[in-house]
């Protein structure tokens, strides 16, 4: 046996009767009573030894507050537990004093957090951060604690663990840090691991690594897991039971297969409909209408009613409780009996037939050999000693009227490419032709000219809108800057734009902080559209939004494209969404494009090993597919772009790499079966059997 048997728990009291953790009627409020935020309302669930439970919900659903309350991590005040019990091995976590709870935290119940960068202390070595819980709870000597920490680092797959104990968090990549975070949580061999969105801040291929790691460790260490997530597809593959939360209440709980096969609560059904399917393309997404719930109202009615297609007066008058649908499956809905069996996709799946659109062929934008290098300067005289090759020779075309998606993981240069096209970054080399004119070196008037026809929608709708300006001013600012129209005509244009993106006129005088994430992104889109551009660069416009809102924004972008005849360069990393909304795809890795083709051909017959790995890493909203799908988990992370690997940048991580890949950078080759659309792959081994 390997080291793992020394790590299995050896606590005698673990063979128990009943659940390991039993949460009963938990309610948590924030703020002064009378003006409370009702964060968690009457939540009950059990967790058995070794069981894995997912709590799924959107931001503000109360899923994180629930588990943080159990751990005693919410601040009181302003937080208040207004009712409930949480029995862990017979002790109520909510009433025992913090001095006692402290000995359960980290030892019996451990937690891993969302953003590994910010959840590790930046000024302490990871060795210290790994050993301190061991020394605290088990009274080990520094030597002993270090040995156990090293074992744990090995187990989570950190190479050269002994040398890296003295390193600080910033010296690791995000994926490595999350592994360290997991090691840190597991050093004391807890019986429950709470994972609070541990992969949300990570890239798809790294996410796949982490999910696999946690699933493996759960088996080896025999612990129970509560996995908090906003992503139903992600948890489909590896948990046993799912609890769906909405506005602080549990709305449905079921074994995972059952939940996906027979979702019962309208919210669960809505969530599933908002996820684009990887298998069935060309159906319009069915978003959940409306905005996230108002948790300032006391929970005396069904919080989902305002967004529910099936709501009746009763739903607005009384709050439904969880009722068993079948054994192990419960839903909190007044009408579940009538609605049971309602099709998952109502309104007969509005088909959007992309293929039949006027075939575009005239290039609007041509990028050729684009390089953006950021100099690295060192020494007394600040001589340039190297460069971060953010974009290292990228060529592509965007045809009039199409959506080209630029896909890749963080650090691959996709955003820098977008910024260079718009002129926010100065290219080191290459051509950027828009409607035939080269703008690569444009400045002054010519740069302005480019901005009229080209606009950008930014990723973070919270950071990209000036908090001191009203919505109306934000949208109209570009018009003022470009001196388009008169004051009155600009005002009229703002109204028109608000209507166009589906915002009500009174919102014009509001400030960004008063809006929801989806509304803010609509403002960002309206701002981009103000000067009637032909071309929109959308840099991850939906990744900061909730799932049900993402679908709304994607549909809006789709409608606008059709109505205004726009062309999109869509930058993103969410492959299922990209498959849904793009006509063609370009896959980037470490500053270069590795594969370009129509969406159908790239997703249908991916030819570059990186594209294949990327596609296989996408979580599928189907618990049964988990077993049959072969997942290519790439080792390691994306290399440092200032020292890219020789030859093909991908070769150190490539399962197919041979000797030539390390020496010679491959040339792009066309593998399309027809000559209508190209399918270009930059790989020595593409097309081989």
């Amino acid at each position: 046996m390997r080291r793992t048997d020394t790590l299995t728990r050896d606590r005698p009291e673990m063979v128990g009767q009943g659940p390991l953790l039993s949460v009963q009627g938990l309610s948590v409020e924030f703020g002064p009573s009378g003006n409370s935020v009702y964060a968690v309302n009457d939540v009950s669930f059990d967790l058995a030894e070794g069981e894995s439970l997912a709590i799924v919900g959107e931001s503000g659903s109360g899923k994180s507050v629930t588990v943080q309350t159990l751990m005693g991590l919410i601040r009181k005040p302003p937080g208040r537990v207004t009712s409930g019990r949480a029995l862990f091995r017979g002790r109520d976590l909510l009433t025992i004093p913090d001095s006692e709870l402290r000995h359960i935290r980290g030892r019996d119940i451990a937690m891993i957090f969302q953003d590994p960068m910010s959840s590790l202390n930046p000024v302490l070595t990871i060795g210290l951060q790994l050993t301190e819980a061991l020394r605290e709870h088990q009274g080990l000597s520094e030597k002993q604690a270090e040995r156990q920490a090293l074992d744990m680092l090995d187990l989570v797959g950190i190479a050269n663990a002994a040398q890296r104990m003295q390193a600080f968090p910033h010296q690791f990549s995000g994926g490595q840090l999350q592994r360290i975070g997991i090691a840190m949580a597991l050093v004391c061999k807890p019986s429950i691991l709470i994972a609070d969105e541990p992969t949300t801040a990570l890239d798809v291929t790294i996410q796949a690594q982490i999910v696999e790691l946690v699933a493996r460790l759960q088996k080896e260490l025999g612990m129970a897991i509560i996995w908090i997530s906003h992503d139903l597809s992600l948890v489909a593959g590896f948990v046993e039971r799912v609890a769906v939360m909405y506005a602080g209440s549990l709305v449905e709980t079921a074994p995972v297969e059952r939940l996906f096969a027979a979702p019962t609560h309208p919210y669960t059904i809505g969530l599933l409909n908002s996820i684009p399917s990887l298998t069935a393309a060309n159906t319009r997404l069915v978003p959940i209408k409306g905005a996230p719930p108002n948790v300032m109202l006391p929970p005396t009615f069904c919080a989902f009613a305002p967004r529910c297609d099936h709501a009746v007066s009763r739903c607005r008058e009384a709050k439904p409780v969880l009722e068993p649908v079948v054994s192990g499956h419960a839903a909190a809905c007044w009408r579940w009996r009538e609605l049971h069996g309602v099709s998952r996709v109502p309104a007969a799946a509005v088909a959007t037939d992309r293929a039949s659109k006027a075939a575009p062929n005239e290039p609007l934008l041509t990028v050729f050999g684009l390089k953006v290098h950021f100099p690295i300067r060192r020494g007394v005289l600040r001589r340039q000693v190297g460069a971060v090759r953010a974009v290292d020779g990228v060529s592509f075309e965007v045809l009039r009227g199409e959506t080209l998606a630029l896909v890749g993981e963080s650090g691959c240069g996709k955003s820098t490419t977008g910024r260079a096209v718009l002129g926010l970054e100065r290219p080191s080399e290459g051509e950027i032709r828009f409607e035939g004119k080269d703008y690569a070196d444009a400045s002054g008037e010519r740069a302005k000219e480019r901005r009229r026809d080209m606009q950008m929608v930014f990723q973070n709708p919270f950071g990209s809108l000036n908090p001191r300006m009203t919505v109306g001013r934000i949208i109209g600012e570009g018009l003022r800057a470009q001196k388009i129209g008169t004051r009155a005509s600009r005002e009229a244009r703002v109204s028109e734009l608000l209507a166009l993106v589906g915002l009500r006129e009174p919102l014009r005088d509001r400030y960004p902080f008063e809006l929801s994430g989806g509304q803010r992104q609509r403002v960002g889109i309206a701002r981009a559209l103000a000067g009637s551009p032909k071309f929109i660069i959308a840099d991850e416009p939906i990744s900061a939004l909730d799932v049900s809102i993402q679908a709304q924004i994607v549909n809006l972008l789709d409608d606008l494209k059709a109505r205004l005849g726009l062309t999109y360069l869509f930058i993103g990393h969410d492959l299922s969404m990209i498959r849904y909304l793009s006509d063609r795809v370009a896959v980037m890795y470490l500053g270069r494009i590795v594969e370009t083709g129509t969406t159908a051909s790239v997703f249908g017959t991916p030819m570059h090993p990186y594209t294949r790995a990327l596609l296989s890493a996408i979580p599928v909203p189907d618990p049964k597919a988990g077993g049959t799908r072969r997942r290519i988990v790439l080792g390691g992370g994306v290399p440092d772009p200032s020292k890219p690997p020789s030859g093909c940048h991908f070769h150190p991580r490539c399962p197919k790499a041979t000797e030539i890949c390390a020496r010679v950078a491959p040339e792009p080759r066309d593998f399309s079966s027809s000559n209508a659309a190209q399918h270009i792959v930059t790989c020595h081994h593409a097309g081989e059997a």
């Binding site: 402290r102 202390n121 302490l124 301190e132």
Partner: protein, 318 residues
């Protein structure tokens, strides 16, 4: 790191050169000169005598020659000679600088320790009585200028309570002892420290509040660590980083403050020397003082930069 230091030191040379020009210009733009200052104090003198004295001091030469002479002195490691007693300025400063450094060092250290501790306590007890009292105290502290604080302390502790001496560095007539020196140090150091402690407290409170909201503090708590480790090891280390800037900025103001405080308490440091020199229009001493202050402030800024890289492993200079 080494190349960073070297670059900073090299960049300091033109800065100091600029300082010499400004200092020289100001010293010579002052009304009157050393000879006139002496003469008014003594009996009235003839025009010839004045001219002769000016000749002896080199004051009759064109300004640029005087400047170049001074620069020559600096490059030789001297700072010229005092017009008043003919002693080398470097020697005078060398004699008095330790007194000032003692006063400033103690004041700054006390301000930092007291201010940071109270700031952290205040942050941990946010919106409670302790926090409100400390915040109010801090407000009073920053509102009282140090010269007034000095006079207040003299009045209360030296004149009314008669606990502490109010001037000098040791009791006249007694042989010098450390204990006696420290008793003399308390009031002037407190006068300098209180205002700065209040400032450190404000920043420490803000810094700690910010750190308390960081995810890694939640992680530390989730690990079940004891509260003291969470606050000191995980919190304070991070909260100190922004305080380094405040510490670096406090130093130049301390020189200004010590001029006034040394005068009030007759503390024989370079501040008192400077005031005497201004009264006597002793321009070599004035210029020497400003130049030394500039060098110390520059070195302190460099030390601040280095302190960052010690406290924060993410900061590295190259």
């Amino acid at each position: 790191m080494l190349s960073y230091l070297l670059r900073k030191l090299l960049l300091g040379v033109p800065v100091l050169f600029g300082v010499t020009i400004i200092v020289f210009a100001i010293a010579h733009a002052m009304p009157g000169d050393a000879v006139l200052a002496m003469i008014t104090a003594e009996a009235p003198s003839s025009e010839e005598l004045i001219a002769m004295r000016r000749g002896e001091l080199g004051l009759d030469q064109p300004l640029y020659i005087q400047y170049l002479n001074w620069i020559g002195e600096i490059l030789h490691g001297n700072l010229g000679r005092s017009f008043v007693n003919g002693r080398g300025v470097a020697a005078i400063i060398g004699e008095r600088l330790p007194m000032t450094l003692e006063l400033m060092g103690v004041a700054l250290l006390a301000a930092f320790v007291i201010g940071t501790t109270l700031g952290v306590i205040s942050a941990l007890r946010q919106y409670r009585l302790t926090d409100y009292s400390l915040t109010l105290g801090g407000f009073v502290g920053v509102s009282i200028p140090d010269f007034f604080m000095g006079l207040l302390l003299v009045y209360v502790f030296a004149l009314e309570l008669r606990w502490l001496p109010s001037s000098g560095i040791s009791t006249a007539g007694d042989s010098f002892s450390i204990a006696d020196n420290l008793r003399h140090l308390i009031l002037p150091a407190a006068a300098l420290a209180l205002f700065r402690a209040a400032i450190f407290m404000r920043y420490a409170r803000a810094g700690m509040l910010e750190v308390l909201n960081q995810s890694y503090m939640r992680t530390a708590k989730a690990k079940g660590l004891r509260p003291s480790i969470i606050v000191l090891r995980h919190g304070l280390r991070n909260a100190l980083i922004p305080l380094v800037t405040v510490f670096g900025l406090a130093l130049p103001t301390l020189f200004g403050g010590s001029v006034v405080i040394e005068t009030i308490f007759q503390w024989p440091g370079i501040g008192l020397m400077f005031i005497d020199a201004v009264v006597n229009r002793d321009s070599p001493v004035i210029m020497g003082y400003v130049l030394i202050t500039a060098i110390i402030v520059m070195l302190a800024n460099l030390a601040t930069d280095l302190a960052y890289s010690v406290l924060d492993p993410r900061v590295s200079y190259d």
